[in-house]
């Protein structure tokens, strides 16, 4: 498929990426930096120092109104009733068949504000909003408003062991008090922003939501403040290897319309006990009957070709599933991957063969995550 560059959306930071020498590619309908210095160097920067990410392509949806909570309980899989103001939780936007429309983070507004903001995947934003609107029609009893605020909001992440120290240089907000999966409002580099302790790399760090026309001021301030620590701008290439090492799912690979959360290993993000929600019955049945497939982590044995998405996976010459994500792991210095396979073949230490260009490559199932930071 050829995408005309004219039809692609641009984040507020595109000119900065070009000035930094980034390679720009089309991604989910956006012009995005895939790498600056190189994927391996950027990956290492995040694991050992800190990295800065433009996430302006990500979607944000506000869900407000007196019945925002019951609406979120009905339209997402996790139990968000326990969220205090300023807290966040990972969850899934389900379909009626018990599959997944998107994976999301639900943020309850900080104290003094009402409602919720949901962060969604760039490629799914329009689909998610349409689905929420349809579900709103299904529940006329609930007084709720759904609004796509992505066009107004920019988003930046800083991730890595030096992230907190760097952020403290550009804000008076006591960011060390922000717990994992929490956020608060405050000024960052003079810009009114929301500062969340969330991320997609397996490292400590923060994500900032700020108005599109001001988000560049936060980017510039962090780039300056982080220079002595080795802060590097990070493209989508390293973002993918970072999240895979941390075994975080990517929608369209580990997650999809026809994959149950229980097959994806995300049963922990589904609350079957909170009351009814979209797809609950189908999900409960999968859990009851045990999922037919499981998502497993594996490494290949020795120096081999890398496993890639959709490569077939076999056991004893018989196909049992396929790779959902695979890459050379910069931290482990070997190939790693996730595969969705028939349940009977799943188990740590059990063998698999990944079929790479027609040839079997020996692999062994391992515990995940592949990488876990020391705390």
């Amino acid at each position: 498929m050829t995408v005309s560059v004219d039809s692609l959306k641009q984040t507020a930071l595109l000119d900065r990426h070009k000035a930094l020498g980034a390679r720009i590619v089309p991604f989910a309908g956006w012009e995005m930096p895939v790498q600056y210095e190189g994927i391996l160097a950027e990956h290492r920067a995040v694991r050992t120092a800190a990295g800065l990410f433009d996430l302006g392509h990500m979607g944000q949806v506000e869900i407000t109104g007196p019945d925002a909570l019951p609406f979120l309980q009905y339209t997402t899989t996790n139990d968000v009733a326990s969220l205090e103001p300023g807290e966040a939780k990972y969850g899934l936007l389900p379909n009626d068949a018990g599959g997944v429309v998107d994976d999301i983070i639900v943020y309850r507004a900080p104290a003094g504000n009402d409602g919720y903001m949901v962060c969604v995947n760039a490629s799914n934003t329009d689909k998610d909003v349409a689905w929420w609107q349809e579900l709103r029609g299904r529940r006329p009893d609930l007084d709720v408003a759904v609004r796509d605020v992505s066009p107004e909001l920019g988003m930046i992440a800083i991730q890595g062991p030096r992230a907190e120290a760097i952020v403290k240089r550009v804000t008076d907000v006591p960011v060390e008090e922000i717990d994992d999966f929490s956020w608060r409002a405050g000024k960052v580099a003079g810009v009114e922003a929301r500062i969340a302790r969330t991320g997609y790399t397996g490292e400590d760090g923060f994500e900032f939501y700020a108005p599109n026309d001001q988000v560049g001021l936060i980017w510039d301030a962090l780039m300056d403040a982080g220079q002595p620590d080795g802060l590097a701008p990070i493209g989508l290439g390293a973002r993918d290897t970072l999240r895979l090492e941390a075994r975080m799912p990517l929608y369209g690979q580990e997650l999809g319309d026809d994959i149950s959360p229980y097959e994806a290993g995300l049963g922990w993000a589904v609350s079957l006990t909170k009351g009814d929600f979209v797809g609950r019955e189908a999900m409960a049945k999968v859990k009851q009957d045990k999922p037919k497939r499981r998502t497993v982590g594996f490494t290949t044995v020795g120096r081999t070709a890398a496993p890639r998405t959709h490569y077939p996976v076999a056991v004893g010459g018989v196909e049992v599933g396929e790779v959902t994500s695979g890459a050379f792991s910069p931290t482990l210095q070997q190939n790693i991957g996730l595969a969705l396979i028939d349940r009977e073949f799943a188990g740590v230490d059990k063998p698999l063969q990944v079929i790479v260009r027609g040839k079997p490559v020996e692999a062994v199932q391992v515990k995940t995550p592949f990488y876990k930071r020391e705390r």
Binding site: Q35, G237, T241, R303, A305, R308, A327, F328, P330, R357
Partner: protein
Amino acid sequence: MSAPENLKFTKTHEWVRVEDDVVTVGIADFAQQELGDITYLELPDVGSSISAGEPFGVVESVKAASDIYSPLDGEVLERNDGVVDAPEAINASPYDDAWLIKVRVTDPAQIESLMDSGEYDTFAASAAH
């Protein structure tokens, strides 16, 4: 970087150094830059036959796997096992240390159809946009 003047090039970004009827084959600088960090390389065994325009190997970067195409018909005389063991050498030194294979050419006339360095620079510049 301009392509070295003593080399010939394919439209699939392989380079060729000609010494009588033996050629050395590698990957052009433009291609290694496009690929990014190279992590894995697969090359044919010594004694294999390769054919012009057909894949003879695979190079993988963190992001993707790409075929390497043979510039000419011939037989593989030598393989650079050092670069198989340390494929990142292709990023560091695409025209020197990181040659891939040496080939005895069966149809020397095919060499004439390859691009010279000036033609290749123009070609690569247009491919970059």
